[in-house]
């Protein structure tokens, strides 16, 4: 009974925490320009993240190591430094984009330019990290994140042609704007398969003191939580296709276009729902990414860490998230367009995947760490597929950025 409660809480947490500025922006752009054609990218990204999150959780539960601990210990510091630097850099961009997302929501609500909101938003993120506990951040923010389900409600209310949606779930070739199509596919994959997500999840397993008895719960949370979360992304894509695309708004390059998604469906409340969804989803993600930066550094160097500790008991850890949050606010405060930054950082996330995913192949097959809970054939096939996908993405991202991103 207790386990069941924990599973449902975990699923709710994953669902509420799934959507962030990257998944909203990429799904909206893709839906507006290509209709349901890119649903497959969301589905593929979701399947990949399910596997990675399940493995990260299982690794934490069985070995009592986070993924960052595992990479350093198994491959040594000289190898660890590359995924460390890559993840720190990509996370910095993503954190900046999330702060930008909240700032845009604030601008839409008040009319005061987003750059003025960057530092106040950073301050609130920092304050919650400073005073809050892991449970509050993980569970509390994610519960609020359930407001993003309004996209699913909107999608259902629009009565999409489900057969056409299903057709889009199968990879297909574009009829127009080829470069843009592939660039968007890459960005969607980057938004779905975020390294911060599975690394954070493994740290969460340690914070919540998981052990071997959580293997089943972990599987359920990863599978159900991420699937439902992916469902919300598909919801955003459907709404963008049937509202923006159908009205001829095909190029979503301006964040002012985004609230138009929900207004024709819910009227004024659609505007409110959009702003609240964007603010909460991005705020929650900003908390997680900032925390992940601190986890990564503290775990990589073996410092004392834990969000439940008082800042004075883990000063190094607290310093990292403090610096991360305020540094990430700088580009937004200087007026860098959050939407452009988001799309750019999602593509870069996709390109950085090989560095963070290759270690999974070794860690999850090392009985030194996971004993009898090694990867099965299917999980290994999935990791190899994700690594291959990651390499392709890393190769095509830059040319696509030039042709499709501009």
């Amino acid at each position: 009974m207790k386990k069941l409660l924990e599973i449902s809480l975990g699923v709710v947490t994953s669902v509420g925490g799934f959507l962030e500025v990257g998944s909203i922006a990429t799904a909206a752009q893709a839906g507006a320009l290509f209709g349901f054609q890119l649903v497959w990218a969301v589905v593929l990204g979701t399947i990949c993240i399910i596997f990675l999150v399940e493995m990260a959780g299982r690794f934490a539960a069985v070995s009592h190591h986070t993924i960052a601990d595992g990479i350093r210990e198994r491959f040594g510091f000289n190898a660890f430094i590359w995924p460390l630097l890559a993840a720190l850099f990509v996370n910095f961009l993503v954190l900046s984009a999330e702060i930008g997302g909240v700032a845009i929501a604030a601008e839409l609500a008040t009319g005061i330019g987003f750059q003025w909101w960057a530092l106040p938003v950073a301050f609130f993120v920092w304050l919650l990290l400073w005073k809050g506990t892991f449970g509050l951040i993980e569970k509390g923010m994610s519960m609020l994140g359930l407001v993003t389900l309004c996209f699913v409600v909107a999608a259902v209310m629009l009565h999409p042609d489900w057969k056409e949606v299903a057709t889009g779930a199968v990879p297909n070739l574009p009829q127009h704007d080829t470069a843009k199509y592939w660039f968007m596919a890459v960005s969607i994959l980057g938004a779905s398969i975020s390294p911060y997500l599975f690394m954070f999840y493994s740290s969460g397993g340690i914070e919540d003191q998981w052990d071997k008895t959580y293997i089943g719960a972990n599987r359920a949370i990863a599978g159900l939580g991420m699937s439902f979360g992916g469902g919300i992304s598909v919801g955003v894509l459907i709404v963008a296709a049937l509202v923006l695309g159908a009205h001829g708004v095909t190029q979503v390059d301006d964040y002012n276009q985004l609230p138009l998604m929900l207004i024709p469906i819910f009227g004024f409340w659609g505007f409110v729902l959009f702003v609240v969804s964007l603010a909460i989803a991005c705020f929650g993600a900003a908390l997680e990414v900032a925390l992940q930066q601190a986890y990564l550094v503290a775990q990589g160097f073996g410092w004392t860490w834990g969000e439940d500790l008082k800042p004075r008991d883990d000063p190094g850890f607290s310093l990292v998230y403090t610096l991360s949050v305020f540094l990430a606010a700088v580009p937004i405060a200087l007026g860098l367009d959050p939407l452009k930054l988001t799309i750019f950082s999602m593509a870069l996330t996709a390109a950085s995947l090989p560095l963070t995913v290759v270690p999974f192949l070794f860690l999850l097959n090392d009985d030194h760490y996971v004993g009898e809970h090694c990867n099965g054939v299917i999980s290994n096939a999935a990791v190899i597929f994700i690594i291959a996908l990651g390499f392709v993405l890393a190769l095509v991202t830059i040319p696509l950025q030039i042709f499709g991103g501009a």
Partner: protein, 119 residues
């Protein structure tokens, strides 16, 4: 036991289970006609810098010297005979508060983090 695989880069904790760092380096003693023996583990940025190469090692040493205001700096060492347990972490029979390993964290707590309300 394979030293490099099983010891290097492992989490180090003291007898109170406080996380104090990773095994950033190993110090071995070469003996005549006998296999070398590990006598200590090293922790800290100088040891890490040396792992990346001679030049980063010198940089790290210079940086640490500059920050701590000392002329000469060495990595922190913990004698191998203090090992108590090797599991998920390596536990040493020491109290981190009696070492200089946390000097920078103490400084940080006193001068930065501790001064922010709510810490």
């Amino acid at each position: 036991m394979q030293l490099l695989r099983d010891i290097l880069d492992k989490q180090v904790v003291d007898r109170e289970q406080v996380k104090i760092g990773k095994v950033d380096g190993l110090v071995a003693e070469l003996r005549q006609a006998k296999p070398p023996r590990v006598i200590a583990v090293e922790l800290g940025s100088i040891a890490l810098g040396r792992r990346l190469g001679a030049v980063p090692g010198r940089w790290a040493a210079r940086l640490v010297a500059r920050l701590s205001g000392k002329r000469q700096t060495r990595p922190h060492r913990i004698a191998w005979n203090k090992v108590r347990d090797i599991g998920v972490d390596i536990e040493f029979d020491i109290d981190v508060r009696q070492t200089k390993i946390f000097a920078w964290q103490d400084w940080l707590r006193e001068h930065v983090i501790g001064r922010i309300p709510g810490a």
